[in-house]
Subunit: 61 residues, 6 copies
């Protein structure tokens, strides 16, 4: 059941995404009584020039 969306800057490797998907799914199964099959994780790589904090694009910092 849970659908998990992750927005982060590019730079995470394929292996890191594998590990994150595994760790997050395990957390939901263990803590929230879901099944692995029902747990969907979707990554979104957001370029730093599309991300701002304090009014400044992260590509500037």
């Amino acid at each position: 059941m849970p659908v998990i969306h992750i927005e982060m800057w590019p730079g995470r490797t394929y292996a890191q995404k594998q590990e994150l998907a595994k760790a997050i799914t395990d957390a939901f199964v263990k803590i929230a009584n879901t099944t692995p099959e029902a747990t969907i994780v979707i990554f979104s790589d957001v370029p730093k020039e599309n991300w701002a904090q304090a009014g400044v694009l992260s590509s500037e910092t």
Copy 2:
């Protein structure tokens, strides 16, 4: 009024997106009393390596 977001793997053709946008808009107009002009559909192509189910990236399956 309705805003519809669609996340799916790449591979749908331009013609398929045209058909989907038309079919979904028609469904909202017919079932939910909206106007076509007020119905917005946004597609997001999510690479398989950014999608996981059961803790495994879809690019691995």
Copy 3:
């Protein structure tokens, strides 16, 4: 695979949501080569006071 998010004003009945979920899923199965089981539809009821167009809350119009 597809995850579909629908944002709309409250007021759609339970029966209308049933019909919408069915019609949208059918469209994806027919047009986009997905299976019904892999098609997830999530509705979000957005109060008119949380929706604005042209800079005016929809509750004002």
Copy 4:
């Protein structure tokens, strides 16, 4: 940096949300080289009547 959105059915307790937020944040810090402070987790409780799979509202199953 990462912003994580979680959509799930209601029913998770306050304590479960605490554990999930902690576990997910820990996973990002350990695997993805982020800081805890930069990791935001947002839960969204989606009623079963607003969630459909295979064209059927989850409140029907």
Copy 5:
């Protein structure tokens, strides 16, 4: 064209939402060459117990 989603804690008044919708729409019209009519703003009030930073629910801080 732009669709703007805003997630924030509850507590913003109706008047504040009116002002925010107006100010954001004006910014898009002035800076991004859009029309007011094409600019949609959607607010989402996220309870503090559904928001976490640094692994801690905001309702705890």
Copy 6:
């Protein structure tokens, strides 16, 4: 605290994104009692062929 997502067609320049991020953050600080540091803005460039209104892809209009 606020997280703001902006979906729009490509074509906005880097300078326009800088201005938008600044203007939106300023609006939240002034109107909604947030701090600049707590205000995150995320842009998403949606190709016209992934955007439909009235059932027609925007790339067709």
